[in-house]
């Protein structure tokens, strides 16, 4: 049976961290097709181990877990007494800027995940380390856009830095609440390559689990730092690397992750240095959403 075009296009790209290439414009596609489960490389056998065999009991691990989680619970309780999100109420209500991540030590890197197209069989490499004075985060590596020779994957060549999902005690999800702010602020230093900022939010339905809000991050290159302000209204919705027809503004009250993706198809070394990531309230910016929501594109 011949596959329908949409279905086949969707089978072509199945990585978890799929890229939209900023130089060439992201891949545009309409329908949101989801496949069950994690990404499995073409040709790889299915993992049929029953779930109870994956559980590993260990007394030491249990004790460690209890200490960690009750410690977190205690912190949470005390934070709650101080005010919302651990800030005094006045500060929480009035503050116009909030620094989310600043890279000022080795422990700040532990909140980030680096991945590249290695996991779909590509040859790119990405590493994360602290910058020269241990005060910045340096993401570097080489990009290689040769697709893996598995007969199915057509595009390859991406490197990603993604923040970890913040967790509360007993592994409950915690979300960033940025609804008091309207702009993302980054201080970066790149090498002229375009990047993409991805924001992942909490979703309700399973088929939305791959939804991401993206925008482009252009770097100038050179020895100077660059202050980038991206209004959240500019972020557009994409799922599995494809821009969606039905756009929706980014809801900022439950943000899970933020990520940076490189996939500009220029093979070679790259680097991106991040000083800090912050959100701020730009009072001059009043736009709610930059794309049409009142009508579907293309209209049916």
């Amino acid at each position: 049976m011949a596959l329908t075009p949409m279905k086949q296009l969707a089978t072509l790209q199945r990585g978890r961290f799929l890229t939209l290439s900023p130089t060439l414009g992201p891949v545009v596609c309409g329908s949101r097709v989801n496949f069950m489960g994690e990404y499995r490389r073409p040709g790889q056998p299915r993992d049929n181990t029953p779930p109870w065999k994956k559980i590993q009991f260990s007394f030491a691990k249990g004790v460690q877990g209890i200490r960690k989680h009750f410690g977190l619970l205690k912190d949470e309780a005390f934070k709650h007494m101080a005010g919302p999100q651990g800030q005094p109420l006045k500060e929480y209500v009035l503050e116009q800027t909030q620094v989310l991540w600043e890279f000022r030590g080795p422990e700040s890197l532990s909140q980030w995940i680096v991945s590249s197209d290695r996991e779909i069989g590509g040859q790119s490499e990405a590493y994360l380390k602290l910058g020269r004075n241990n005060t910045t985060c340096l993401l570097y590596g080489t990009l290689c856009s040769t697709p893996p020779r598995d007969g199915e994957t057509r595009y390859s060549g991406y490197c990603t830095l993604r923040s970890k999902q913040p967790l509360l005690s007993f592994d409950r999800k915690q979300h960033h609440d940025w609804s008091r702010f309207n702009t993302l602020f980054l201080r970066i230093r790149g090498d002229g390559r375009p990047w993409m900022v991805n924001i992942g939010t909490e979703t309700y339905f399973y088929h939305q689990s791959d939804d991401m809000y993206n925008y482009f991050l252009y770097t100038r290159g050179g020895p100077y730092w660059q202050d980038v302000k991206i209004p959240f209204s500019k972020f557009f919705l994409s799922s599995r690397g494809r821009i969606q027809d039905d756009q929706h503004p980014l809801w900022l009250d439950k943000v899970n992750t933020i990520g940076f993706t490189l996939g500009d198809k220029a093979d070679g070394p790259f680097q991106l240095e991040i000083d800090f990531i912050a959100v701020c309230n730009d009072r001059a910016h009043t736009e709610e959403f930059a794309y049409e929501v009142y009508k579907r594109n293309p209209e049916v």
Partner: protein, 426 residues
């Protein structure tokens, strides 16, 4: 049933398909061609005839690839590519195997250098027979009419998208003629036309598609890009030339081109002469798919006890004071600054790009800089240059530069004189 759910949007609209009959200049579908059609072949050029000899009929993918490869032996140009497409179109009035041919053509496009040419994409789309794949009733419309052909059409558009080629009205007319008004390729076309103009001019630091061929022009462009200062002045410290000396040896002089802004000059003039300045590099800069390397003249950051805050000259602005020392506290709600520590970094005094990244070449830059910055003569200059690929290279043709490998840190003896400065070992 399944497809009904996948494409619930394809509704039956007869009106659209009816409009199309106006375009119908192609042979009507459904005619029963006799074998005469196959016998009197249209005049095929040599490529077609050769492929005829090789393996009867052009139905497999291999033959189409061969068609292109045979054409590539002459020259890889747009004209050759178009000729191959013409040969295919003229070979068979029914365009047998056109889907395979289109896939082969898409794959060969970058080789022929036509991947950013809208006319060629339109020509490729023109291979599809017109009218045949247009659904004629609601059932056809509902059940994904001619899926393989539509898929192929989407593929052509996707390649256009990947290379950043904007479709034009001709593309639309072709797609409507081939697949009808509400087909998947048309949808894809609409999506492209919606999103491309939105993202086209987004880059605040635009790079032209065609970079200057001359490396000096390229260096000038990239330096003014990274300097981020309109006052900065680009200076050519050494012209590139190749000459044959009397002994018959070829003497080449690498170009050295640098940039310095008045602010940087001022910073350098104030620099403490007891502290060395460093030439660092090479750092990479990417301009689309081209990678260039630049070098930076900078100093180490000042230790905190030596920092002096420069008082602002009150005569800089007569209309309002630039500094106000009022003892007022700002409210939390008025504080727009970010609560982060500054990253301690040394000041940048100048930047340069050179054909070669060895110390002798960069010393030319420093001695050239001395003319405008006499203080450099009294400051020690340390080269922290890493060996590596120090020539301009594009991502397409990576060259290795083993020549520089051998001299990462040459002995300072011969570099001493022109610099009038001591070079320190790191």
């Amino acid at each position: 049933m399944y497809r009904m759910f996948v494409h619930p949007t394809i509704k039956a609209t007869h009106a659209h398909s009816l409009i199309l009959h106006g375009y119908c200049s192609q042979p009507r579908r459904g005619f029963h061609g006799s074998s005469i059609f196959l016998k009197n072949k249209p005049a095929a050029t040599d490529y077609g005839e050769k492929s005829e000899h090789k393996g009867g009929g052009n139905k497999s993918l291999v033959t189409h690839d061969n068609l292109f490869e045979r054409a590539a032996q002459d020259s890889r140009t747009k004209a050759t590519f178009n000729r191959v497409v013409d040969v295919f179109v003229k070979q068979d009035i029914r365009r047998r195997g056109h889907v395979e041919f289109i896939y082969a053509a898409l794959k060969k496009m970058p080789e022929f250098g036509v991947e950013r040419d809208i006319a060629v994409y339109n020509k490729i789309l023109d291979i599809f027979p017109k009218e045949v794949f247009v659904p004629r009733n609601f059932i056809q419309r509902m059940f994904n009419h001619y899926p393989r052909q539509q898929e192929c059409g989407v593929e052509v558009l996707e390649q256009m998208e990947n290379y950043g080629v904007m479709p034009n009205i001709e593309t639309k007319v072709l797609l409507v003629q081939i697949f009808g008004e509400k087909s998947h390729p048309i949808r894809k076309y609409q999506r492209l036309m919606y999103w491309f103009p939105k993202f086209k001019n987004l880059n605040p630091y635009p790079v032209p598609h065609e970079l200057p061929q001359d490396p000096v022009d390229l260096a000038r462009f990239s330096l003014s890009r990274i300097a981020n200062d309109l006052d900065a002045k680009v200076t050519m410290y050494q012209m590139p030339y190749t000459d044959v000396s009397e002994a018959g040896e070829e003497v080449t002089q690498p170009y050295v081109i640098g940039i310095q802004s008045p602010d940087q000059q001022e910073l350098l003039a104030k620099h403490d002469t007891s502290r060395p300045v460093f030439v660092e590099g090479p750092f990479t800069l990417w301009l689309r798919k081209t990678c260039v390397y630049y070098y930076v003249l900078r100093a180490d950051p000042l230790p905190p006890e030596e920092k002096v805050k420069e008082p602002i000259d009150p005569e800089q602005c007569f209309f309002y004071p630039l500094e106000l020392d009022l003892d007022l506290d700002r409210d939390v709600g008025d504080e727009d600054n970010f609560n982060v520590d500054e990253v301690e970094e040394g000041p940048v005094f100048a930047m340069c790009m050179a054909e070669k990244g060895d110390q002798a070449t960069l010393a030319k830059w420093i001695s050239g800089l001395q003319e405008t910055n006499p203080i450099l003569g009294r400051i020690a200059t340390v080269f922290r240059v890493e060996s590596g690929p120090c020539e301009i290279q594009s991502a397409a043709e990576p060259e290795s530069a083993p020549a520089q490998e051998s001299e990462p840190e040459p002995e300072p003896a011969e570099e001493e004189k022109p610099l009038r400065s001591q070079s320190m070992k790191q």
